[in-house]
Structure formats: C-alpha cells, structure tokens
Symmetry: C2
Subunit: 331 residues, 2 copies
C-alpha cells in the first residue's frame, strides 16, 4: 500500500467515525510520515468550519477542570468536541501535567468527545505546525469545537495558544509574584480570561485586579501606537468543579465564533496567523530534510563541525547551506 | 558609517573593555541588525574558549540566588563572568521573572561581571540563535564563564538550556505534583542538578528522591536502547542565600569544563548541537526574510491567504514557496 493509499483509507475511515483510524491518522500526522502529510493534503479543504479554542495558563490554574466542564456543557447541545492537550512534560513520566485524565474520565465513553495528547518534546519549532495539522484532521472529521490546551509558561506554548481562533487564558485567584509576571505576558494573547476556583474567597478581587491590569495594558498599547486590539478581553469567573460560570463561558466562546463567521471574508487575522505559523514551520522542516539528503548530508555535517570548532561563523554557514540547496534545485 | 564599519568600531571598543559598547553591540545582535551580524562574523573565531553554563528550573526554584552566589564564588578566583537572563515575561511588565536584579546588585559595580537580560517574546524559533550569538560576543570579549539563565517550563527555554556546554537544573525541595512532572522533562537535559534551599528540612530527602528518579530514568534509557548518557547527572545541595554548597557546585562545573577541554577534538557534542540549533534558526530567518523581498512578498501573502481560506493545503504552500525561492536564486 502506498502512503497515499494508506492516507486515503485512514482518512475515509476516520471521517466515517472510526475513532481508532482517527487516532492512528493523528499519530501519522504527529510523526510527519508521508501518509500523514497526504491525509492532511486530502482533508485540509474541508477543515474550515471548526472553532479552535486555545486554553492556556500556568500549571495548577485549573485548565483541565475548566476544559472538562466546557466539554460537558457543549455536549448538552449535542455538539461534537475534541481536545488536543499539548504536553511539554517528559515522555518518561508519561505526561502528567495536562489533560488530566481523571477529570476527563467522565467523557471517555462518549463517542462524540475525542481527547488526544500531543508531546511537545523533540519537535523544535514544529509544534505549532503539528498542532494545527492535527486540528485540521479533527475539523475535517466533523468536530465542531476543538480545544487546544497548553501550559502557558513557555514561548512555544504561547505560540500554540495564539494560533487558535479564540484564546482563553486561565488564572487561579491565588498566585505568587513570579507567576503574575508570566501571566502578564499571556494576557497579551487572551481573547477571554477565566478566573478559576471562583467559589474561593479572593476570586472576585483577582478578577477585578486583572480587569485593572488589562485597562493599563490597553492604555499602554495606545500610548505606544501598537496595533490596536479589537477590544479588551472579558474577564469571567468560573468554578469548573461545581460548574458555576461554565455556561456563560461557552456562550462567550459561541458569540466569538458567530462574529468570526460574519467577518470571515473581511479580517481572518487568526486564520492568516495560523497559516503563517504552519507554513513557516513546514519550510524549516523541509529545508532541514533536504540538507539531510545523501547528496548534501556530508557537506552539512562538515559545515556544522566548522561552526562548532569556531572556524566558520554561523551566518556564513547558513548562507553556504542555502546556496547549496539552490544549486541542488537548479541541477 | 557602513554596517561593517560600525560593527568593527563596536567590536573593538567592546573587546577593549568598554561595557557600554558591549551593551550596544548585544542590542544590535538581539535586533538582528546588519552591524550585529557583521560583528558576530568578526568575533566568532575568537569565541571558543568560554564555558557556557545553562541554568534552568521552574519559577521560584532559586535560580537567580544560585547564579548570584556562583558569580561571587567565581570572582574570588579572579575570573570574569557574564550572565544572560533569557526572560519569557512581557515587555509591558518589564520582565520581573529572571535575573532578579536585587540579588545581582552586589555585582553591579564589578567591571568583571556583566549581566544582560534577553527578551524571548516575538523571536519565534530564533531565541536559541540569538542567545548563542550573544554568548559568542561575550566569549570573544574575554568572559570565561557565561551563565545562561532561563525559566525551564517551556520548549524554547529547555532548548536554550540544552545548547550550553553544561546544563544545571535547579530544583527547590518543596514543589507540587504538577511541577514535579515538568521537572522530569528537564532532568533529561541536566548535567548537574542542584537542590536549592538546602538548609530547609526536606532538602536532603528531595535530593535522595531526585537521585532515585535519575536512576530509574537511566534504566529506562537503557531498556529502550536510547542513545546512552555519558553518565548520570550529579545531584548537589545548595543554599544560595548563605553560600553552603556553592564552592562545590563551581568545582563540579570546573571539572566539566576541564574534561571538555581534554576531549574537545573527540566529541564536541554540545558544540555541534549548538552549531546546529544556531544555523537552523538562521536558515529559517533567512528564508522568511527572502520571502518578504518585494519580488516575492505579494505571492507569499497570496499563498498564505489561500491556506487561511482552506483553498490550498499548507504542504503544497510550503513547496510552492520553496520553488519560488529556488527560481529566484536561479535568475
């Protein structure tokens, strides 16, 4: 069976509702196999309708509890929902940070809920690309609402969150000073901020503080003449464990999805940013792969060894390798 | 003044001990200006002697306190020391997480200590490259020991830590379960693990636990036939605030630097990994820049818009843009 035939078979089965085929297809996409690539090529044209919601925040903020509650809420109206948990933890420990499986257990037997962990280690710059590719497959298989859950403490994770149509930043009410500073960076990508553990004392005060920070941030943006934000993100309170605030958050997400549908042809900024992140990642991967071709690999290793030995500077090395590829393309 | 003349002037002044020229030069490197690039080209050949030490760990683990103590210890033997604090927090809040300036104040008036923050936001995949370039400039200016301090919670930050010659993972004794999981991912890049706050009860037990985890990890590596680790990282205890354990940690770092000097021609794995990370980042940047050239930019935007509208799949888009560049290189 060729890669293309395998892609066709897996894609057809996955679209027909075969969850094991879908899981296998996502593994091929994540591993960048030829079949995975062929499947995304095949499915991409039908992947435009889903609402991609990034959910991020510091460890312990309550992301998994909130996502599990939102999944439950969305299922009440019969929608099919997928969760991609982008997990920066070790393959050795098996990834305990995100997509806390205990909280997701309630959805494990529901065929219209699909949950998938993606490991971020070892992918270099390609994490955003792999996540978008996986989301396209899920969208083409009919999932209407796709949550992309990441730990919002590193650059890559913030990038992954910001390629969603809508980005939700989750914040627990009681956090130390250091976490506050991370949070401020995250707030810049937020469309919606959710203060979790809303039944605890101090949650209302934390929400008020966040609203204050966002006002200062908006003034700062204007003062510096930065690109204007369409509007300040809303700050909502939730208690995922007892469900308070969850219907309101889903309603806010749905309003954003509806607004996005109306303005689709005018300003698809998130879709364009997503396309750019994905294509940039693929360009990097393709260049790296071509340099590893037998015709170039010896020269590549020689060049890197010269840089490592400080005999050649890295800029000249990059230019030489690009010239090598251009010469290869000519021949 | 041309970029090259400016690079020559700044590089000469920086190498002569002018700290303001050095600071300006590092800004040019971080901003990827032509002068910054020319300066790195010029200085790179003399940048091989420094020992690059990555220091990473979760927020609050005590990285800054430890680095400040190690700087003080290294100064006792007269060595010149630089600190690059790679800071993932927001430009709006000014970056409060790393390189805690209060703890570094004691070194502020010492001309043989140079401290520099690097913002990681907005650099995409280029953070590792920018950090290595800055470290080369510092090495060429005669700094013998260069600490690269990052928050070890995201993919990029782990990458930055792992391009150092030696990577120190810092761990506080009392940490919640979620942080434990992050730590396990970090342990894979560790050459040395330091348990901080060593004067607290529980620090010894935490160190023993870590040693246990590392033994299990080493067994796991062997069982899977993964590339062998040269040896398990040592686990040391420190109290940065009162200085306990700090001379032992510096001695362990110096032993690693000496071993590296002896085996330099045999297996410069860290240097090769660093060269690869830096050149890969530069390749990506150069491709992105070429695509923004006036002759290609319209086509680039058109292609991205087609991907955003789901009319073109991202793999075909990447192939088309690479073909465009190859055709441009031919003409």
């Amino acid at each position: 069976m060729t890669a293309d035939q395998r892609a066709e078979a897996l894609a057809a089965a996955a679209r027909g509702g075969d969850r094991r085929a879908l899981a296998r297809l996502l593994s091929e996409v994540e591993d960048r196999t030829a079949a995975g690539e062929a499947a995304v090529r095949r499915l991409y044209g039908e992947a435009g309708a889903a609402h991609l919601v990034g959910v991020t925040g510091a460890p312990g903020a309550g992301k998994s509890t909130l996502v599990a509650a939102l999944v439950g809420e969305a299922r009440k109206s019969g929608r099919s929902v997928a969760v991609l948990a982008v997990d920066p933890s070790s393959p050795i420990t098996g990834g305990a940070i995100l997509g806390d499986r205990v909280r997701m257990q309630q959805h494990a037997s529901d065929p219209d809920v699909f949950i998938r962990s993606m490991a971020s280690r070892g992918h270099g710059g390609g994490l955003a690309g792999a996540t978008i590719a996986a989301a396209s497959v899920l969208a083409a298989c009919g999932f209407e609402l796709i949550f992309i859950e990441t730990v919002g403490t590193g650059q890559s994770e913030v990038e992954v969150a910001s390629i969603a149509d809508t980005t939700v930043v989750v914040q627990a009410p009681e956090m130390g000073d250091e976490v506050q500073a991370i949070k401020a960076g995250l707030l810049e990508v937020a469309d919606l901020v959710v203060v979790t553990k809303g039944d605890r004392p101090g949650a209302e005060r934390a929400a008020a503080q966040l609203r204050g920070m966002l006002t200062v941030g908006a003034q700062h943006d204007r003062a510096l003449g930065d690109r204007p934000r369409p509007k300040r993100p809303d700050v909502l309170l939730a208690s995922g464990a007892i469900g308070t605030g969850v219907p309101e958050i889903l309603a806010a997400l749905d309003r954003r999805a509806a607004a996005r549908g109306e303005h689709r042809d005018r300003s698809p900024a998130a879709a364009l940013a997503r396309a750019e992140a994905q294509v940039a990642g693929l360009l990097g991967e393709r260049i790296a792969r071509r340099l590893r071709d037998p015709q170039h690999d010896a020269r590549r290793l020689e060049t890197l060894a010269a840089v490592a030995a400080h005999e050649l500077d890295p800029y000249t090395a990059a230019d030489e390798l690009l010239a090598l590829l251009a010469a290869g393309a000519k021949g």
